[in-house]
Structures are given as structure tokens and as C-alpha cells.
């Protein structure tokens, strides 16, 4: 039974809990610092592995490893798709093939640690973490439907005319939630039947327009992940692809995702990420081809295929497929040989 003090305490605490806050800057801060924490853990874990290897080297006779060609530096760019035309030549192909992005942004944005490339469902995009986003679509409606994860205050200015090279477009801006800086957006038509938008934290409109002018649409890149799926459910195909690449200082490949579905409402998501520290053991008794998988949550299957932790989402990021379907898909999971060389994936 509640006493008078109970009631007063409840009223006092509710009155003192204060107003809601804008979560965007706090979430952005958490992502930024969370990545640093994760990186530090990997460095510590790597140092521990090195220490073990050094100790082993002191006791095991050394054999020189076979010579291998030097691996190219892992950059934020996707590998070329030779022979595949860019978006200017085939605007109708934009977002239609999850394995391809029909533009490049090698020189457009600097200073980012990670890039997330995505293709499928009618759009192609790259998001440079906490810096910029570029989206490409065959219609302005598809462009507008693409999610924007860069935090803004939500009060954009009225668009004004802007030219990107010799192409017409518009530009507008919105304050960052902390009020320190603006996100500038430029939307233009690089070619007939083709829409592009660049969002960039920039000093002014000129900087954003100049960055937009450096995006190229005359070549294609492969949207690749370091695995393939050899056993899709009947009637299913890959509908979407997304890959997160870091700079060499951030370990290169971070995460790759394929969305698989039948185009009629049934779909599932397979995600592989570099195994986070503390997740090196997955204890499961579910047979998935040559692997052992675990049911680690409602509609979530997980297995370890070094060096990646692989998750398959039947619900939340999927719908309509059974656990048996998921296990068959995982059974057909085939990792690449060299996770550090996207050009070989």
C-alpha cells in the first residue's frame, strides 16, 4: 500500500526527470566513441595474440612462409566492375543489381574513417561515417526515400538553385543538432533519368557543390562482401548488398550484409562482421552444412566462420522464412580466402 511519502517521491522524481532531449547528437557521439573503444579492444586482443606468437616462436623452429604478392592497401573504395557501364550510360540499371554501384566517389570526400556502400531496392549509396552521404536513384521519389543517418536539427532551409558542373540542381542546408555547423545537401541530375544527392557537413554551399562535382558516373564498381551464399531458398535471390569498409588504420573490412528474398514478402538477412573481442566462441548444436550454428535469440541464428561472426536474421531483419530455411542458407555460406583484399572477393 502506498504511503503519502511514496506518492510524494513518485511525483517529485517525475517532476525532476526533466524534458526530453534530442537523441541525435548523443547517438552520434556514442557511435564515434564506441568505434574507438572497439578498435582499442581489437588492438589489445591483437597484442595478446602477438605475445602468444612471440612466445611460440621462441620454442618452435621458424619456417619462412611462402612468398605472396603484396596485398594492396585497403581503401574505402569498392573494386572496379570492368566492362559494366556507369549510371550515365545505364540510368535504368541504378539500384537494380545489388552487386553493382554505378558511380564512384574516390576523390569526392576526404577524412572519413569508414564508408558504407549499399545497393539494391532502387538506390545505390555510400555513407562516409559522420562526414557525408551520396545517393543515386532513377527517380526523385526513390532518392527521397533513402534514409539519412547524418544527424541534423530537422529545420532545412528553402532549396535554392545550384549548378553541379553544367547540370541543374538545388541546394539547401540544415543545422547540426549541436548548432555547431551545417549539413549541406545538393540534389542534381547528372544525366537524363538519373538523380543524385550529396549531403556533406561543410562550411558553405560552394564546398558541397564542389564535392558533388567530383562524384563520377561513367564507371561501375562491384558491391562486394567477403562471402557468398551457395544455398538460397527456392525462388530467392540477393535483393540487397551492403558493406562497411574502414581505412587500413581501422582494420579495413568491418561488416558485410546480404539481403535475400523471393520478392513476394519473404526475406532474410545474412551479416558477417569481423569477430568482436569476446565473441570468439559460439556454442551451438544446430547443423548448418559444415558449420555448427546457435539459436541466440528470437529469429536469430549465429555461427563462427573465422575470422567472421555470421548472423542470420529471420525476423526483425527478415520475414517469412523458417529456421530450417535459415540453416540451409548458412550451410551454403562460403567465405573468401583473403578478407583483406576486396578486389579478390
Amino acid at each position: 500500500m502506498r504511503t503519502d511519502l511514496d506518492r510524494r517521491l513518485a511525483a517529485t522524481l517525475h517532476a525532476r526527470s526533466g524534458d526530453d532531449v534530442d537523441p541525435a547528437p548523443i547517438v552520434a557521439h556514442a557511435r564515434r566513441h564506441g568505434r574507438r573503444i572497439r578498435l582499442r579492444r581489437r588492438v589489445v586482443a591483437g597484442a595478446a595474440v602477438c605475445a602468444v606468437l612471440v612466445a611460440l616462436a621462441a620454442t618452435v623452429p621458424w619456417q619462412r612462409p611462402p612468398a605472396v604478392p603484396a596485398a594492396p592497401a585497403v581503401a574505402l573504395a569498392l573494386p572496379l566492375a570492368p566492362g559494366v557501364p556507369g549510371a550515365l550510360e545505364r540510368p535504368d540499371a541504378v539500384g537494380a543489381d545489388p552487386g553493382v554501384v554505378h558511380f564512384a566517389a574516390d576523390d569526392a570526400i576526404g577524412g572519413a574513417d569508414y564508408a558504407t556502400w549499399s545497393s539494391g531496392y532502387g538506390t545505390e549509396s555510400v555513407e562516409y561515417l559522420n562526414r557525408a552521404r551520396i545517393v543515386l536513384a532513377a527517380s526523385v521519389e526513390a532518392l527521397q526515400a533513402a534514409p539519412l543517418r547524418l544527424p541534423v536539427a530537422g529545420s532545412p532551409t528553402t532549396p535554392v538553385d545550384a549548378r553541379v558542373g553544367d547540370r541543374p540542381g538545388t541546394a539547401w542546408s540544415d543545422l547540426k543538432p549541436d548548432g555547431l555547423g551545417r549539413l549541406w545537401s545538393v540534389r542534381w541530375q547528372p544525366g537524363d533519368g538519373l538523380w543524385a544527392q550529396l549531403d556533406l557537413y561543410a562550411a558553405d554551399q560552394g564546398e558541397a557543390v564542389a564535392a558533388a562535382a567530383r562524384v563520377t558516373f561513367d564507371e561501375a564498381r562491384r558491391c562486394v562482401v567477403p562471402f557468398s551464399l551457395r544455398a538460397l531458398p527456392a525462388g530467392a535471390r540477393v535483393l540487397g548488398c551492403s558493406v562497411v569498409l574502414g581505412t587500413p588504420e581501422h582494420d579495413g573490412f568491418a561488416e558485410g550484409t546480404l539481403i535475400v528474398g523471393d520478392g513476394a514478402g519473404r526475406w532474410l538477412t545474412v551479416r558477417a562482421e569481423r569477430t568482436p573481442p569476446g565473441m570468439e566462441q559460439v556454442t551451438g548444436d544446430l547443423a548448418a552444412g559444415p558449420y555448427q550454428a546457435a539459436r541466440t535469440g528470437d529469429g536469430l541464428l549465429e555461427m563462427l566462420v573465422r575470422p567472421c561472426l555470421v548472423d542470420l536474421f529471420l525476423t526483425d531483419r527478415g520475414n517469412g522464412y523458417t529456421e530450417q530455411d535459415g540453416l540451409r542458407v548458412l550451410g551454403g555460406y562460403l567465405p573468401v580466402q583473403d578478407i583483406d583484399r576486396p578486389d579478390t572477393w
Binding site: 503519502d4 511519502l5 511514496d6 510524494r8 517521491l9 513518485a10 511525483a11 517529485t12 522524481l13 517525475h14 517532476a15 525532476r16 526527470s17 526533466g18 526530453d20 532531449v21 537523441p23 541525435a24 548523443i26 547517438v27 557521439h29 556514442a30 557511435r31 564515434r32 566513441h33 564506441g34 568505434r35 574507438r36 573503444i37 572497439r38 579492444r41 543517418r149 562482421e273 568482436p276 569476446g278 565473441m279 541466440t296 535469440g297 536469430l300 549465429e302 561472426l309 526483425d316
Partner: protein
């Protein structure tokens, strides 16, 4: 659920909770940011638990208690009362809440945490014990001592008694 989905949905509630634990707007912001950064770094694991929000709240409480232990001085942050009531009854009510809040702020960290979890989050003793990683008996002891302190405070009589 992705980290972003969780964080955008739950940050306002975590922030209100942190305000009550710390009694300080800036400290609450620091606390929530630190805890969410740590949650991001291990989201793969947290998202697979039955109750991600429960897990994060426990991280937040632990971080607050660690900070409290590290704090060199024991000064209490007391906010100024910004609200100005329109009537005499409302004035008395606001004064009562203000006095009670100052007393809550003076409670030891664990006692205050129990009070906030019980009267703001409306948790039962079993869930509070899970968050604090202690027995329900310990929770009841913290609550009993906190309520005794609040009842015995001189300002209780000034504001009509508890």
C-alpha cells in the same frame, strides 16, 4: 534491433533516468554518452540478450556508482528551482517537491538509486536487485534506510511532514 534503433528510441528515457541518479544535467549527459558508447562497442552481444534496455540501464547504474566512488569530494549538486507557481497551493506543492528532491540528492548513491528505480521506474525489488547485482534483502535495506532518512529530515516538518 540495431544500435541506432535502440539509441534513438531510448536515449530520452535514459537521460531522464540519469538526471535523477546524478542530479546534474551535464553529468547526466556525460554518463549517458559514455554508457551508450560502451554499449555500441559491444552491441553485438547486448542486442542478443532478452532485455537490451535492462542491460544498458545496469551499465548506466554501475557507471554512476563507479563515478560516485571515484569522486574526491562529496559535495552535492543542488539545482535552482526554475518553476514559478501560479497559486498558493501550487507554490506549496512545488516547495514540497523541491525540499524532498534536495533530500533525495543527499542520499548515498545506492540508496538514491533504489529510490529512483522504485519510485520513478516503478520496478519491484527483484528487478532492482538484478540491476544492482545484489539480493532483494539488500534492496529492502537500502530502501528502508533511505525512507528513514527522508522521514527524519528537519525539512519534512517544514513542508507538511512525510
Amino acid at each position: 534491433m540495431t544500435f541506432e534503433e535502440y539509441a534513438f528510441a531510448r536515449t530520452p528515457a535514459l537521460f531522464r533516468f540519469a538526471r535523477l541518479l546524478t542530479g546534474d544535467e551535464h553529468r547526466a549527459e556525460d554518463l549517458v554518452q559514455d554508457v551508450l558508447a560502451k554499449a555500441y562497442a559491444r552491441w553485438g552481444r547486448i542486442s542478443r540478450t532478452d532485455r537490451p534496455d535492462f542491460y544498458v540501464r545496469r551499465m548506466l547504474v554501475n557507471a554512476h556508482h563507479s563515478w560516485w566512488r571515484r569522486r574526491s569530494s562529496r559535495e552535492v549538486t543542488v539545482e535552482t528551482v526554475a518553476e514559478r507557481p501560479a497559486t498558493a497551493d501550487e507554490a506549496a506543492e512545488v516547495a514540497d517537491r523541491d525540499a524532498l528532491w534536495r533530500l533525495v540528492l543527499r542520499l548515498p548513491a545506492r540508496q538514491r538509486t533504489v529510490i529512483v528505480l522504485r519510485y520513478y521506474e516503478d520496478m519491484d525489488d527483484a528487478r532492482i536487485a538484478e540491476i544492482l547485482d545484489c539480493s532483494t534483502g539488500t534492496v529492502r535495506t537500502h530502501a528502508k534506510r533511505a525512507l528513514e532518512t527522508l522521514r527524519a529530515a528537519p525539512s519534512a516538518s517544514l513542508t507538511g511532514g512525510f
